[in-house]
């Protein structure tokens, strides 16, 4: 367990990427349960997120923790595939049509992956039709749509309307996020939830999936 705690500290302290990867591989070689490693990684990411929220860490540290988590997740994947660990849920994410900003979305993806979710990234400038196609194809639990610009946030309304028109609205929970958005706007356009940033996004996605399972 001490080895796992040390590993967790490496992530929290944003240690050298090669050292983190080396340590992850070494832990797996000692027959540690990869599910335990994933849980420790998840806890580390939560702590990094808390430090960022408290203003103790900067955006670069949040991003770098996400990079470390992505690297470790890749290393864990083959071992996790041999366990009976179920995915925490599947999320499709994309930035709305007309908007090509993606920092927040990319941080969200890294953090969701580290938390054990399966994430499908549709990229930026995604049309309503492409979101609909992905809902059909991916059978995801949650759709996350982001917009950074006040000029593109209205396009979120069009996406949700298109999903409703196609008869898919009941099949998926929708979370929206991005700098100019508010909870009031999310309610008005018919989203299930809203997150002001990536950290809140992870919390909200978990809540949406847990609520759907009840």
């Amino acid at each position: 367990m001490g080895e796992l705690r040390d590993f967790q500290t490496l992530i929290i302290q944003i240690s050298d990427i090669e050292e983190v990867k080396r340590t992850a591989r070494k832990i797996l070689e000692t027959d540690a349960n990869p599910v335990d490693v994933l849980e420790v990684l998840n806890e580390a990411m939560r702590e990094v997120g808390n430090r960022y929220e408290r203003g103790e860490y900067f955006l670069s540290e949040l991003i770098m923790a996400g990079v470390l988590a992505s690297e470790v997740t890749e290393i864990l994947k083959p071992s996790l595939a041999k366990t009976d660990l179920e995915s925490q849920g599947k999320i499709v994410v994309g930035t709305v049509k007309g908007d090509i900003h993606d920092i927040g979305k990319n941080i969200l993806i890294m953090m969701l992956s580290a938390a054990g979710f399966e994430v499908v990234d549709l990229g930026v400038d995604v049309s309503a039709e492409k979101f609909v196609e992905a809902i059909d194809k991916e059978e995801a639990d949650v759709l996350g749509i982001s917009a950074l610009l006040s000029s593109t946030m209205e396009n979120l309304r069009g996406v949700i309307e298109t999903i409703r028109r196609e008869g898919l609205r009941d099949q998926i929970k929708i979370i929206v996020g991005g700098r100019p958005l508010t909870k009031e706007f999310a309610d008005e356009i018919g989203a299930d939830s809203y997150a002001k940033d990536a950290l809140e996004g992870v919390r909200v996605v978990k809540e949406l999936i847990e609520a759907a399972e009840v």
Partner: protein, 367 residues
Amino acid sequence: MKKRDRVLKTLEIEEPDMVPITEMDMEVPIMEAIIGETLSITTSLQTPIVTDRRLERKRTDFKIECYRKVDLDLLTVDLSPPEGWKPEENPDGTIVDLWGRILMLDKEAKAWVPYSTVFNQLEDFEDFEFPDPNAPGWTYATEYAKKTIGEEMALATFIRDPFAHAWEIFTPVKFVTWMYQNPNFIGKVIKELSDFNVEVIRQIGETGADLIISGGDYCEEKGPMVPINFFRDVIFPNLKRQVDEAHRGGMKFIKHTDGNINPLLEDFADTVDGLHSLDPTASVEIGEVKAKYGDELVLMGNVSVDNLAMKSREEIVEETKTCIRRASPGGGHILSSSNSWAAGAKLENCLAMVETVRRYGAYPIAI
């Protein structure tokens, strides 16, 4: 008082006849709405891409006409690309700029926005040829604008900050990864980009421009984007070199950044002449900054760019009055939005800012 004199007095942190007003930039659709004509040119706030000199003149004329029609005091122009350069066009419709940024067209804003990068590995940078600051043409639009407006309005040239430049050139995830893996490399890149800026600022100084505005964010909503010691060790010393060069050329230097700048205010006050945008959505209260640093920093802002898109005309009038009340007494305040007049802004709200400052912005401030 002439508009240029109004701005120059403000840049000295003195009270002119009234609070000057400008915008760091206006996206093409909002300029089209103001002029009532279509401008068939796409631009970029981040990088010079209008290669055809005829179009560059047309774009500058369009902007001048727009700033005149709205009655702004300070004209802002971008750097032009060096003569003979053409962006590389990719099959997917994206283009590659002078610094290896891959840009995608935001059709609604008619603006090219950084989206990706040609740098996949750190080593890719070693083989990349940076643009030559001594190549002719960088100040083409500035020279043309100065010839056109003379002393009518003050003139600012918009340059890209080396930190923001590097952040975009590499994209955020790669920038951060390489910053932690090899901080000396990122430091070297920021120094090289600063060397470039210093030389270009020298050339801008020869055009008769009054001000440099350095674009690109240092902060996001919660605070600085990278640790403060990185700012102090790498970013601010290079920023100071650019400011010093602007001063040698008889110009002032205003740094733009969105986000929560409060942890860096002391450093800014020691380094630059002024700050834009004083982002009201990121815990920046312009009255507090004025009270603490009003004797050292010119403040340019801060009517919320989001509110320009979403609030009513009456609310914008009140917000502008509040902004004047808090930031204008004593001089040193240029009224503007908290970023630029974006394509999504309501034109009537933008114009309400101008009407309000003309009505309530006469010194001494009495609202």
